[in-house]
């Protein structure tokens, strides 16, 4: 399997207003390959979202090496990183982060506005296909405020997958859902990721959600460790 992401000794430090340094991530080593399903467990404030931002090219490490498809991200300019992110990474957020006032179809089409050529011109068709795949084609014209939490998260999944990303990053995807809906959303996410051979990285504090992954890690005080019995 091709390695998508490779982290070696990655740290992320921020300077607080009182000039003190806060070490959010410390020496993180991690490899993500195509088709992987990885879960990262951790309590609130342990650095999970910071790690997700690094994996999703939204941020760069303070030190260490982070390679995306073999290229160190430090060498990629911010605009090129944005384009690379758009074409290869799909985000699923805890609070869905759908665009309010827009229909489900508009939301799913949104990433295709940043695609070029055929994908842009076929945006409606591709978005409808993806809505159909998550079982919400009939709700294409519905707006987020008229949908249940489960439906909104399925729309968010369709939006994350519409550009056929190679990496799907899910930040607490079931955090705002009840147990039953959360399980169905995770099953859907796992299925569509497997079908498209995309790597799925789920960040969660829920052991049941993490249990669905093939490799699991725990992030504690900025240190990432493989959970026992699971290959790192």
């Amino acid at each position: 399997m091709e390695t998508l992401l490779s982290l070696r000794g990655v740290t992320r430090t921020v300077v607080l207003p009182d000039d003190q340094e806060l070490h959010i991530l410390r020496g993180v080593d991690l490899d993500i390959a195509s088709g992987d399903h990885t879960a990262i467990l951790g309590r609130s404030g342990c650095g999970k979202s910071t790690l997700l931002n690094l994996l999703g090219l939204l941020d760069v490490p303070t030190s260490g090496e982070l390679d995306f498809l073999g290229t160190p991200v430090r060498r990629i300019g911010s605009n090129a990183r944005a384009r690379l992110r758009g074409s290869t990474v799909g985000f699923v957020f805890q609070q869905f982060n759908l665009l309010q006032g827009r229909s489900a179809l508009d939301n799913v089409m949104m990433p295709l506005f940043y695609a070029k050529g055929r994908d842009f011109w076929r945006r409606r068709e591709l978005a409808m296909e993806m809505l159909d795949r998550v079982g919400l084609a009939a709700r294409a014209d519905a707006k987020p405020n008229m949908m249940s939490g489960g439906e909104q998260q399925r729309i968010a999944i369709a939006r994350a997958l519409v550009r056929r990303p190679r990496l799907i990053l899910a930040d607490e995807p079931t955090g705002a859902l009840d147990v039953e809906t959360g399980q169905s959303v995770m099953a859907l996410l796992d299925t569509v990721a497997s079908e498209s051979e995309a790597a799925l990285v789920t960040i969660t504090h829920d052991h049941n959600v993490a249990a669905l992954a093939r490799s699991r890690y725990r992030l504690d005080s900025g240190v990432l460790q493989a959970l026992e019995g699971v290959p790192a």
Binding site: L58, D59, M110, A115, W121, R163
Partner: protein, 398 residues
């Protein structure tokens, strides 16, 4: 190439989608812009119309651009008219002047169905009609051979025509002068009255009038010159006449309104400045609303950036939204302005002297639309810069 085209298209479609979604907010911001564009465009449009009306009125009175009046006074009074006529004809021939006229004022009595009335007579040459932009209500102005008619031709005012019982001009209606030498004249044309309630008046060719015993006192000679040659020719004619009549005082001067400068320019500048101020206030309102909106759109900007929107794309998106909206407002404003300026009631009040109104000035439409685009660009640039500075990670959590 395909990527470039789809990039442009996607920015436009995205901007239009934003407008559609936020139509109420944008509509509120754009009403002010559309109204101020309409005001600015109307100032130019109405100003042009008023200027055209004023020009026509002025040309009817003072002559077209450039009409030059020529007169010569001897040291003890007017010179011999026959000698003067010869001198004027010499000027016409030497300087190749196509349109010229002698103008003299006189009074004559005419026999109307209701009795005899005094009529103000203007004794002219055929060139007067062209020089003074005579607008015929009916019939025609004098031709050169009208001077050869046995029954002199008259062009009468509307008041004269009414007093004569509005006869059919096709029948060559006749009117008689009364008192002194009785002459039968033929009405060949009717011109509008200069003002409401104007007493009857008429034009007659000088030679015909002389034959009918109607003579003018001191007259004036007028020539119509090309604007760019006027200054040189005025000096040349002045020197020419001065040389012909040593010791006399030759007056050669422009009479047309264009020589006096544009009397409406200052008023138009003042009203234009007020309209510009209104436009500026509209732009400030639009900018204000855009800035507030950007604060509410921070999360959306973060989401878009996480799905691949570059900072340049975010800038263009916010900017285009403002530009597309202001273009729509500009078109609406210009259309409103056209509706105002081309309104028949407004046209009749602004330019009462015109029979045919000029088309809506394209420069006014361009100015209004250009101003709207400029406002959109200015009101879009600042929020767009703010949007670009949004930090993606913070924005998603916003």
């Amino acid at each position: 190439m395909s990527g470039f085209v789809s990039g442009i298209a996607s920015a436009l479609v995205e901007a239009w989608q934003e407008l559609r979604i936020n139509k109420v907010r944008i509509l509120l911001a754009l009403v002010a812009v559309a109204v101020s564009v309409a005001a600015l465009t109307s100032v130019v449009g109405v100003g042009d119309l008023a200027r055209e009306g004023f020009k026509v009125q002025s040309e009817r009175q003072g002559g077209r651009t450039a009409t030059v009046g020529i007169s010569v006074y001897g040291p003890t009074g007017p010179l011999d008219p026959a000698r003067m006529d010869k001198a004027y004809q010499g000027i016409v021939e030497r300087y190749g002047i196509s349109y010229w006229t002698n103008v003299g004022q006189s009074q004559a009595k005419f026999q109307f169905p209701q009795g005899v009335q005094d009529v103000q007579m203007t004794l002219v040459d055929p060139g007067y009609g062209v020089i003074h932009r005579i607008d015929m209500r009916q019939g025609s102005w004098f031709a050169d051979d009208d001077a050869k008619r046995l029954a002199p031709a008259v062009v009468v005012s509307e008041a004269f025509y009414n007093a004569a019982g509005r006869p059919d001009l096709v029948q060559n209606p006749k009117v008689k002068t009364a008192g002194g030498q009785e002459t039968t004249a033929v009405i060949i044309g009717v011109v509008p009255d200069m003002y409401e309630g104007m007493p009857p008046s008429a034009f007659m060719l000088r030679d015909s009038a002389a034959a009918a015993g109607i003579t003018a006192g001191f007259g004036e000679f007028k020539v119509w010159l090309q604007d760019e040659q006027a200054e040189t020719l005025v000096q040349a004619i002045q020197m020419d006449l001065q040389a012909q009549f040593p010791g006399a005082n030759a007056n050669v001067f422009r009479q047309d309104y264009a020589a006096q400068g544009d009397p409406l320019a200052m008023a138009q500048i003042v009203v234009g400045a007020v309209a510009g101020l209104v436009l500026l206030l509209g732009a400030m309102g639009m900018l204000n609303i855009s800035m507030v909106t950007i604060r509410y759109r921070v999360r959306e900007i973060g989401i878009r950036r996480s799905f691949g929107a570059t900072s340049g794309r975010i800038f263009v998106g916010v900017m285009m939204e403002s530009l597309v909206a202001s273009c729509v407002a500009g078109i609406a404003g210009v259309m409103l302005s056209i509706a105002v300026v081309k309104n028949p009631w407004i046209q009749s009040k602004v330019a009462p002297g015109l029979d045919e109104y000029p088309p809506f000035p394209i420069e006014a439409a361009m100015l209004g639309f250009g101003a709207a685009v400029l406002v959109g660009a200015l009101a879009g640039a600042i929020p767009a810069l703010v949007a670009v500075r949004v930090k993606v990670i913070d924005a998603i959590r916003f």
